[in-house]
Symmetry: C2
Subunit: 714 residues, 2 copies
């Protein structure tokens, strides 16, 4: 890619961004769109906008985002979101502080050398390379400047990461200390309950076990059940209820318009409502609802009595006891009565609770193996894509497209976008698969599964996108290096980095201009909402469902950002020009997502910042990759003092080790100091207990006394 | 070493053993020696012997040892000792079951082959080699028998180790469940207490912290103090008290014999009682005692008030709370308020309590580094010793000793014993050093420090003695192999094993015949006791001190046994003749130590079997070393199916992993299930509290109220 196509790409991206921003300013000021641009505020019962809508400056949101405090973010969107901003802010800080030294020092040093023109051979040399380390002659003393900058980037990272970890630990502590009664702080989940002894029920077994250990603070227990079937019936019931509401709404509407008595809506009972006999909808659904309720009640009875599993939720009347129980070893054999702190009720993955201790271990390793295979096999098509989508290579391989490529305009656009778009589409396919795999490990909570999937996705993107694209391009260019590649991976990677600098520069720019532009303008949800509202929705509930904003999407957002972190770290010293692009990515991201967090997204769970240790470790992993790559690159440049970079990765490992020792345990286990803080009011234990009853099993009609099989009495 | 010198060695060892046994039978039947042969029973207030002494058959002790139950061992000598017998019994079981297949199968297979005489070149070939794998021709199908036996030994080990771990876990559980009140079950030790806030005392800080978390069960706290100086004064005081008692006894004695008024003993006040003015001893010591008591009381005040440290012992009125507190995370930052379960008061290493979290970590790694260096540097002299002490090598290097060696009798004895004795003496120097190093890690309890030292000693013996001797001999024999040794260590080790089989056979025999003979006959303590009693002891307390039996000496005994385990494992298939020797070692050891445990040794602490996971892991490590060596040896024998042995070490690692997951946590942390068992009677909290006061700070005179600075009130 030459310089002009790089500029074209940048300019196009910027134009798209500006258009999206204008669209946002226009659309967001229309009150009819409030549910799309301010759903979080609306759901929280606040006015969509603080000032009046009319008097609003189209740039007010920027001011609002910039002046919002972390406390507001926590209040509006939870600790997890606040932690995400700590992540964005920390990386931004690292890039700004690094750039303050890297740009004024390295750019002049690079541009004034005459360079070995080392990268021309790969056909990717451009004006940009003059500003990079590739322009420095081998063994030159100028390399010292780059060498020192390697240390500078690392030290800035260490300092800011330490501060961030400390801050997040404090945030988590504050959130857990809060005097509000949270049901999950009074419960622990126990798994691997041994077989029920002769002459006892599961409930009696669990109750007597915990009553012995906690005579004063044990409240009651809830045995986990296999309620898949009840869930299904319950969903069916909810479906009928919605359809009934819809039919009633249609009937109401028909009344007011043509004839006062209205037309009663009808439907067919057969497949998809297309065949079968025609019936009166309202009557039909009422009948169906009654039928299903009876079915559900019967299934609830069966579930609670006969589908009990070897897991239970234990409730304590006291936060400290629950916190302490969650981290204590209860049984002599670890594969019996293993406990963990209860998550929020909505996060519990019931079907995973029954999986036994060693089965979980085995599943975990099987999943790791499958994920490793996935990562390795995805590598092949990605390498092909990255190689094919370089126009030079395409022309080489398919000579008949040469005439097309000769059209200058088309060629420029193709060069600028083809590889990046291919890459982005390709990556969108994976996260779901990884989440399913993570759940198959037997992880018992939603947030943990998302963290696990997110971690896998990170390794995937770094290995495949970053290393794959880098090496893929080089391997195609210099096929002869394949033979000795396995044991020279680092130096090969290092050698091929400069050739791909512009590719990644464009990638970053595309991602932040177009990605964040789409994010802020919410064009897709807006169009979908208006379509749904016009053609599909009949009841208020349906309209509300149509604009439901969803959550921030941690699971895929963080690995995406982490890929940018990795790219920017690795190129920071080689091609310092990437640093402002990275800073722009995280700065713009911070600003736009701040707006989205405050006004749009509604978190679907709260893990009180447990994501941070994962993020921290992955930033460190990127840093280490960068340090090792630099070590290799200085070797390629024949800089004799390159071994003096060896302390850097060691220092990073030590830093990670100290952080893990100091901060991590408080993320893994509830601390007693925090749990011992006073509560606003005495906990209502019955409410706490009820919070954990799955919706398909809770019913106002059902009297507790009849269903105490799976729940113990006080 | 040829066959005759091996037989000589064996015979001499056996004769020494028989002599020692006869001595034991004679000496143990004399009532005057009861304090040497039955001190444990005497200290427990039992009759030295159950039957009368006269009617005693000299072999009754064997019957008594064989019929004693594990329960009796626990009652007489504690769980740790019982666990040691589980270790001996398990290894014995492994060897007996292995031998039942190995001997009848492998010996005929080996002896009927004509052999490659592979080891003659090393000058150590003997008739014994005909019974070993060295007698099998390379690539022979007979190797299949040896191959299958490798699997047999491993599988027997897995089964018996699993059963043993389960049994020890049960033993530990039973001991911890016991309804007796043990002070350590009501306390936790907290370290890394942050700096005292303005306007609070350390005591107030600790009390308010724990009162908030445990409002109902917190009893009181005891701040750790730096009482080194008080200890010194207290020891001085105890010394004076002993001297006074001694002077009074001398005076008493002088009264009854010559003149009725007696001679008042005198001493000199100067250096070692040799110079200075002469004074009346009784008066002088009385005066000194009063002086020292005043000094001690002043020092106690200063210690309790001004020498408080950042650690404390926290007492709870409840076993479950203490157990749960010991394993819960209290503070958000792990390097503050870190807790661990209190050990027995006598095990606490007070000076290590104050060491801070990260300092402990750093110390640990520094000590590991120093130990690694020690292991590597000890290797050099040991290699020299093993090479020099082979007579052939001595003659080669020092030709002038040839005439001496020509004396057949001398030569045989020298050949038989020189290397083994050198080795044993050399190894006796190290354990103390390792214990000091382990304590420098900051380990807070005696038993833990001993475990740590013992673990280091194991790696030392295996690396230096086993590998060192084996390779050392070979390296001297075939100096040319040094060049390619680093990356061929396994096959070099495997190749040199057969040449050293007889050396280790002799070593094992010497160790069990002479070692256990000395152990049972207790000749050294007996002689020392009689000498002391006759010439030194004046008071009853002094006599009692002279026969104090000490403990079993876990710290050095286990690594010694483990070395035998390693040797026998590694040679079991190569030279199956070593298996009965190993079985004899562990059988005899079991029998003789059973007697010693029941009648002689008094345990100096009780860790409820926490040694077992260490022993288990080290047996596994030996097993893996054996499996890897066999893999190498089959390679040396050019057996094409050798790679089929690769699953064995992997299986061992998996086995160790599963055991660690399943059993280990209950050894590391107190389980609540166990702590929740009922107590015989309500705990006397004041007694529990007082049990932890160091002797130098406890005083009947001192009123609690005056010294509550370091101890909080109820």
């Amino acid at each position: 890619m030459d310089f002009s196509s790089f500029l074209t790409s940048l300019a196009t991206s910027f134009i798209i961004f500006v258009v999206l921003m204008i669209l946002f300013a226009l659309l967001a000021s229309r009150p009819g769109n409030n549910v799309i641009y301010y759903p979080n505020r609306i759901l929280k019962g606040l006015e969509p906008l603080e000032g009046g809508v009319k008097s609003r400056n189209p740039f007010t949101w920027i001011k609002e985002a910039l002046t919002s405090s972390e406390k507001e973010v926590v209040a509006m969107s939870g600790v997890d979101t606040a932690v995400y901003f700590v992540f964005l802010g920390t990386v931004l800080g690292i890039l700004v502080f690094s750039g303050m030294i890297l740009l004024p020092v390295l750019l002049p040093v690079a541009v004034t050398d005459d360079g070995g023109n080392q990268t021309t051979s790969k056909g990717t040399f451009s004006e940009l390379d003059k500003l990079s380390m590739a322009n420095i002659r081998q063994k030159s003393n100028r390399l010292w400047a780059f060498f020192i900058c390697c240390y500078w980037v690392s030290i800035v990272s260490f300092i800011l990461l330490w501060r961030a970890y400390k801050h997040v630990a404090w945030l988590r502590g504050e959130a857990l200390k809060a005097p509000d009664v949270k049901p999950e702080q009074f419960a622990v989940v126990v798994r691997d309950i041994p077989a029920v002894p002769e002459g006892q029920t599961r409930k009696e077994q669990v109750d007597s076990y915990f009553k012995t250990i906690y005579p004063d603070t044990f409240y009651r227990s809830m045995i986990a059940t296999d309620h898949k079937k009840a869930d299904k019936i319950w969903e069916e019931l909810e479906g009928y209820k919605k359809k009934l509401a819809r039919a009633e709404a249609v009937f109401e509407k028909s009344k007011t318009t043509a004839k006062p008595e209205g037309t009663r809506p009808t439907n067919r009972t057969g497949l998809l409502g297309l065949c079968g006999s025609k019936v009166d909808s309202i009557e039909y659904y009422n009948e169906k609802i009654n039928e299903t309720i009876t079915k559900l009640e019967a299934e609830q009875k069966v579930t609670l009595r006969d589908k009990q599993q070897n897991a239970a939720i234990i409730f304590f009347s006291n936060r400290v006891t629950a916190a302490s129980a969650a981290q204590s070893l209860h049984a002599q054999m670890v594969d019996h009565w293993s406990v963990f702190a209860a998550p929020e009720p909505r996060q519990l993955l019931w079907p995973n609770l029954k999986i036994k201790y060693f089965e979980r271990e085995v599943r975990q390793y099987v999943v790791y193996f499958v994920v490793t295979l996935t990562i390795l096999f995805y590598m092949i098509p990605i390498a092909f894509i990255s190689a094919f989508t370089t126009l030079q290579n395409l022309v080489k391989l398919l000579p008949f497209i040469k005439p097309i490529v000769r059209l200058r305009a088309l060629r420029t656009v193709l060069e600028a976008y083809l590889p990046q778009i291919a890459l982005i589409v390709f990556l969108a396919l994976l996260p779901k698969l990884l989440l399913i795999l993570s759940k198959m490990e037997g992880i018992p909570t939603e947030s943990h599964a998302i963290r696990a999937a997110s971690g896998k996705y990170f390794y995937f993107t770094v290995l495949n996108v970053f290393i794959g694209v880098t090496l893929g391009g080089t391997l195609f260019g210099t096929l002869k290096t394949i033979e000795n590649s396995p044991n020279k991976l680092v130096s090969l990677l290092a050698a091929s980095l400069p050739g791909n600098a512009t590719f990644f520069l464009t990638y970053v720019a595309l991602k932040f201009f177009v990605g964040y532009g789409l994010e802020l303008s919410r064009l897709v949800p807006l169009i979908l909402f208006h379509l749904k509202k016009k053609y599909l929705c009949k009841t208020d509930a349906e309209v509300k469902e149509a604009w439901a904003p969803g959550d921030l999407g941690y699971g895929t957002r963080v690995p995406g950002d982490m890929l940018i972190v990795t790219i920017v770290f690795c190129y920071s010293v080689i091609a310092p020009l990437i640093v402002p692009f990275g800073a722009l990515y995280f700065g713009l991201g911070w600003l736009i997502l701040r707006n989205q967090a405050l006004k749009v997204y509604v978190p679907s769970y709260e893990s009180n910042g447990r994501m941070w240790p994962h993020i921290h470790n992955r930033i460190l992993a990127s840093l280490i990759l960068y340090q090792v790559t630099m070590l290799g690159y200085f070797g390629v440049q024949k800089f004799y003092y390159a071994p003096f970079l060896i302390p850097l990765p060691l220092l990073s490992i030590l830093f990670g080790f100290v952080c893990a020792k100091k901060f991590y345990p408080a993320f893994e286990r509830p601390t007693l100091e925090v749990a011992a803080n006073g509560l606003k009011d005495a906990p209502n234990m019955d409410l706490i207990f009820r919070a954990f009853i799955p919706p398909s099993l809770s019913s106002e009609k059902i009297d507790d006394e009849n269903f105490e099989d799976a729940r113990s009495n006080v």
